[in-house]
Symmetry: C2
Subunit: 81 residues, 2 copies
Amino acid sequence: MARVVVDVMPKPEILDPQGKAVQGALPRLGFQGVSEVRQGKRFELELEGEATEERMAQVHEMAATLLSNPVIEDYDVRVVQ
Amino acid sequence: MARVVVDVMPKPEILDPQGKAVQGALPRLGFQGVSEVRQGKRFELELEGEATEERMAQVHEMAATLLSNPVIEDYDVRVVQ
């Protein structure tokens, strides 16, 4: 069994209203000195069997088609323990 | 300037309807062999100055109060390059 993490973040050039909302709330809650916040998604997948090259190619396809919107988001795939 | 990542995931014992929806969609889209999907949030913070012990304690407090709901979510904080 393999465990894979897919991180999906808004592309740097894309406005991120969720992140901006968090950033705006921080000073009101007494937290200073945070110059930027970006909010994205994290997926943890459990694969049946090993993380073979073929399975990982499938995970990349999932990440690019189902888990992220490639117009506005970047994704990163990695195997974890 | 320090860059900090905060990962927020639903606790293992908590139902995760978003993850279940993704998992349900995978076979319909032709992806087999994924036995579990959990969906959470990923925050990337940029701090002014260094990630001192005091600043990181503040980030942990942010993570526990603003970025996550500790009743249903776990969080993980780490400094990245």
